[in-house]
Each structure stands twice: as C-alpha cells, then as structure tokens.
C-alpha cells in the first residue's frame, strides 16, 4: 500500500542510539517543565500524541521518556523485544496504566492529568477528571492479546454492550450495525453464540468488531495475534489490513514483522523503555541505525527462517 504522509515530530526523530534518545528525552522533559501546562494543552500536533512518557512498576522503570505522534489515518507499528515497554506504552494511552510523567493527547484533547510527578517520584500521576477519561477511552478502541470478550455475553451482545450502555445509542440501530460488522469480519453466523464456542481467530475478529462498533477515533492493538495458533494469525491480520486501507488511525504493538513492514506508515522500535529507532518501515527494517535494532531485527529474521 502507499505510504501516507508521515511526519516525525521533533521529539521522536530518528536518534543515532539509545543514549542519544535519552539525552533527547531529558532535553524535552526539561523544556516541558519550563513551559506552563496551558501551553502544553494546545501544543498537540498529532492525532494521537504521547509526549515524554515515564512509567514504572515498583522499582522497574518500564518507560523512560517516550514520545510518539500519530497523524490521523496513520498506522504506527510498535516493535521490540518483550519487556521493551511497547505494551505499557499502548496501555498508558488509554490510561489502563497511569504514568508518573508525560502527556497524552487524543484528537487534540489532553488527557486530564494533574501536576506531573517530580523525577524519582514513584507514584502515578493524579487524574483530575475521571469522567473525561471514560469519554476518551470510549473514543479509543483497544484490541487485546487475549481478546477479552465478555464470556457471559453472546457475540452480538459483546458488540452492542458499550454502544448501548456507554454511548447510549438506540438498541435497534446498534444491533443492525453489529450484524453488519460481524459480516464484515467474516463471522456473521456467530451472532448468537457465546465467545467460548469460537476459535481464537474468530474471537479476535469479534473483538475487532466490538472495537469498531464504538466508531473510535483511533484503535490500539496490543499484540492482537500473539495468543493465536499460527494458522489463525492470517485471518486476523487480513482484517487489520483492511482497516488500515480504509484509513483508520492505528497503533499496533506486534511481533508480526511482515505486517509491520507492509502496513505501517511508521515503525517505532522500543528498547529498554526508550525509542531506539523510528521511521518508515524501509528505514527501520532495511537500514537500522541503532545497534539494538540491528540485533533485534537480525534475530527475528533468523527466527523466521
């Protein structure tokens, strides 16, 4: 597919190495500390923008100042070895995890964080307005590694639940749309059954339909094919390809390098909680600059053979 216009914001321009990125993020954070929060709120340049994000679990600093900016209609793949922080980054965007420092913008709206914590303060940031968080989450659909379909609801009910009970849309309209979505992801005949009766690939496609039913402004995919048997990966990826082709804004954490290369507008390689490499798929896959990315990519290529 054609590469759409890709802007790389100043803070995540391709660094030469992980240490450069650390210097850069330190610079960014000191700069943002001097700017008043009001300026921050208006400064979002991307459709989904993460700025200088820091997140730790107990004593383990998972994210060390990560900045990502996705334009509307852009597909960004987040790659890296396990423990690199890519899933945590995704989960910070809809606040399933709450970072200690950093800003997140969705469609120009700033997530309602309170004052950022000082460097070294281990507590997550305060949230000023949880109602806003709920509203923002409804705009950001998430697809999980383990599907997380609600097991006590049928496939149809899984899809209609949130549009009816969170968005307050009329049941009849939502159900019609749900049937259309199920048809679209290729499981039209499964509307009345419970998730446990479906294969993993079918469950994940149902989960994608559930996400689409929210008319999300952006979609977050957290290793959507990692829990699938190899022969079921393709059916999920092909649905995701279609979504990318129709211009959805997508952030995808994935181990599927072919998918990342063919579908993404931008690929970000995370290493030990920092962005070690970022750019077009060609840049990242064909001529990685950082040692960590070179090593990671050569390993995955060996593994694929």
């Amino acid at each position: 597919m054609a590469i759409r216009a890709t802007t790389v914001s100043a803070s995540d321009s391709v660094p030469d190495s992980a240490s450069d990125s650390a210097i850069e993020s330190a610079r960014t954070s000191s700069a943002s500390a001097q700017t008043p929060p009001a300026t921050d709120a208006t400064a979002a340049t991307g459709w989904v923008e993460v700025r200088d994000l820091w997140k730790r679990y107990d004593d383990h600093q998972v994210l060390k100042g990560v900045s990502v900016s996705a334009n509307e209609h852009e597909v960004i793949s987040l790659i890296g070895s396990s423990g690199s922080g890519k899933s945590t980054l995704l989960r910070c965007i809809n606040l399933l995890e709450i970072p200690e420092r950093g800003e997140v913008f969705v469609a120009g709206e700033r997530l309602p964080f309170g004052e950022p914590r000082e460097a070294g303060d281990k507590r997550p940031r305060k949230i000023n307005n949880w109602k806003n968080v709920y509203r923002l989450r409804a705009n950001l659909a998430m697809v999980f590694q383990s599907f997380n379909l609600w097991s006590h609801r049928t496939i149809l009910e899984n899809i209609t639940e949130a549009p009816i009970h969170v968005l307050g849309r009329p049941r009849r309209e939502v159900e019609e749309e749900a049937h259309a979505l199920l048809k679209r992801v290729g499981i039209a005949d499964k509307a009345g059954v419970y998730p446990s009766a479906l294969s993993g690939g079918q469950q994940q496609r149902a989960a994608i339909a559930r996400a689409l039913a929210m008319h999300p402004k952006a979609m977050l995919f957290d290793e959507p094919t990692s829990a699938l048997d190899p022969e079921l990966v393709g059916e999920v990826l092909s649905v995701m390809r279609e979504l990318a082709d129709e211009g959805r804004t997508m952030l995808v954490v994935t181990h599927e390098m072919d998918f990342a290369r063919e579908v993404s507008d931008k690929v970000i390689f995370l290493h030990q909680g920092q962005i070690a490499e970022a750019g077009t798929p060609a840049q990242v896959f064909d001529s990685p600059q950082s040692e960590a990315a070179q090593k990671f990519l050569s390993n995955t290529r060996i593994a694929r053979k």
């Binding site: 998430m142 097991s151 639940e161 949130a162």
Partner: protein, 238 residues
C-alpha cells in the same frame, strides 16, 4: 390419626401456628440473605482493598465473627444493639424508651454471620473473574462501578453460587437460633406445641420435615441458578 388432628388448622390444632412459624423462618432467612449479600460484597471489597487501613480492620472483623460460635454472635449483637441503640437514642433525645424489634435484631445478627462467610466466597469469586474482563470494560469507557455491575458481578455469580447455596442452607437452619430471643419462628413454635400437647417428639419431627422441605426446594433453585450462571461457559464434555 391422632397426630393429624394435632396439625389441624385453627384453634384446635397446631397446624396454623407451625405454618406461621415456617413463614416467619422463611421471611427471616430471605431478608437476612438480602442484607447478608450486600454486606458480604462490601466486606469482600474491603478485604480486597489495596489500603491497609481498610483491609486490616476488615480481616480482624471477619476473624472474630467466623471464630466465635454463631449462637454467641447472635446474642452479643441482639443484646448489644438493644442496649447501645437505646442509650444513643436517649442521648440524642429521640426516644426515652427503646426496644429493639426482635425480627430486626435477628436479621442483623444473622446477616453479620452470613456476610462474614459470604465475604470469603465473594473474594474468591472476584479473583476468579479474569483480569482482562474488567480491562475490556474500562477500555470501552465504562466507569469501574459500571464495569462491576455489568461485567464482574454477572461473572462472579458463576463462582459464588455453589458456595452461597451452601450458606443459604446453613442460614435457613440458623434462623432457629433466633428462638433464643423469643422470635416465634418454626422451631420455637414446634417447641411450644410439643410442650403444650406433651408430644415434643412428634412436633420436632414435623418441624424437621418442614425444614427439610424448605432446604430441598432451595437446592432445586440453586441448581437452576447454577445452570443459568454457566451460560457461555463451555461444558467440560465439549
């Protein structure tokens, strides 16, 4: 046939008294069940709290209630409530004389006992619901409370109903403890009837049959609820 005439309804027999006692027993058990489940959920939530200041007192409370005889707990609560509530009411100048209604006293006592055991059941059931279920709920914009009612609670039942069914059986029989505070539930009526007619064995046997009938019926309800709560769970046989 003398036995059956003893069970006649009306002034001549004890049938209507026994039935009234059984009805009171059932009322007592149902009202206690309602409050016991509510209190049990609250205790389970407190027990699972990440704040020690909430979790530890709750654990202490559960230890005390579960570690002392139920009969004693009922007495402590009934007489304790009676004394301290009347003192508080007098102090506030609301009522000079106060007597705790026996039914209410019995409900509070039994609900305290029921909820302590139910809390452990709910705690287990809470944990048994996979974490991803609630994550999916909040990820679509539900508040944690909405997620609890719409996603966690319906799934908790599947894990909680077998245990709660057991507790309900125990509760139905424990209502007989309320005889001690002179509440005319089934066992007390049977005892009075037995003493009056000098045929205690007969009336105790009848009471036993009535209890058995009630517990047998509740087991059927429990089976039905269990089947309902298993919706969407793949049968072991496939």
């Amino acid at each position: 046939m003398e036995g059956l005439s003893l069970l006649a309804l009306g002034a001549d027999g004890w049938g209507d008294e026994l039935l009234r006692g059984a009805w009171l027993t059932l009322q007592l058990a149902l009202v206690t069940l309602f409050f016991g489940i509510l209190l049990g959920l609250l205790l389970a939530a407190a027990r699972l709290s990440s704040w020690k200041i909430i979790r530890w007192p709750c654990m202490g409370w559960l230890l005390v209630v579960r570690g002392t005889p139920e009969f004693l707990v009922l007495l402590l609560i009934y007489f304790g409530l009676d004394r301290y509530l009347s003192q508080i009411l007098r102090f506030l100048g609301i009522a000079e004389q106060f007597e705790l209604p026996r039914f209410a006293g019995a409900v509070v006592g039994l609900a305290v006992i029921f909820s302590a055991y139910a809390a452990e059941i709910f705690r287990g059931a809470w944990r048994a619901v996979p974490k991803g279920q609630m994550e999916a709920a909040v990820a679509v914009g539900m508040s944690p409370l909405a997620g609890f009612w719409r996603v966690r609670m319906p799934q908790m039942w599947r894990f909680a109903i077998p245990g709660l069914g057991n507790l309900w059986m125990v509760l139905l029989k424990d209502t007989s403890l309320a005889a001690v505070i002179a509440l005319n539930e089934l066992l007390r009526m049977a005892k009075i009837a037995g003493e009056t007619t000098r045929d205690p064995l007969f009336f105790f046997a009848v009471a036993a049959l009535i209890y058995l009938f009630m517990t047998a019926c509740s087991d059927l309800v429990r089976l039905w609820l269990e089947r309902r709560a298993r919706r969407g769970v793949r049968a072991v046989a496939g």
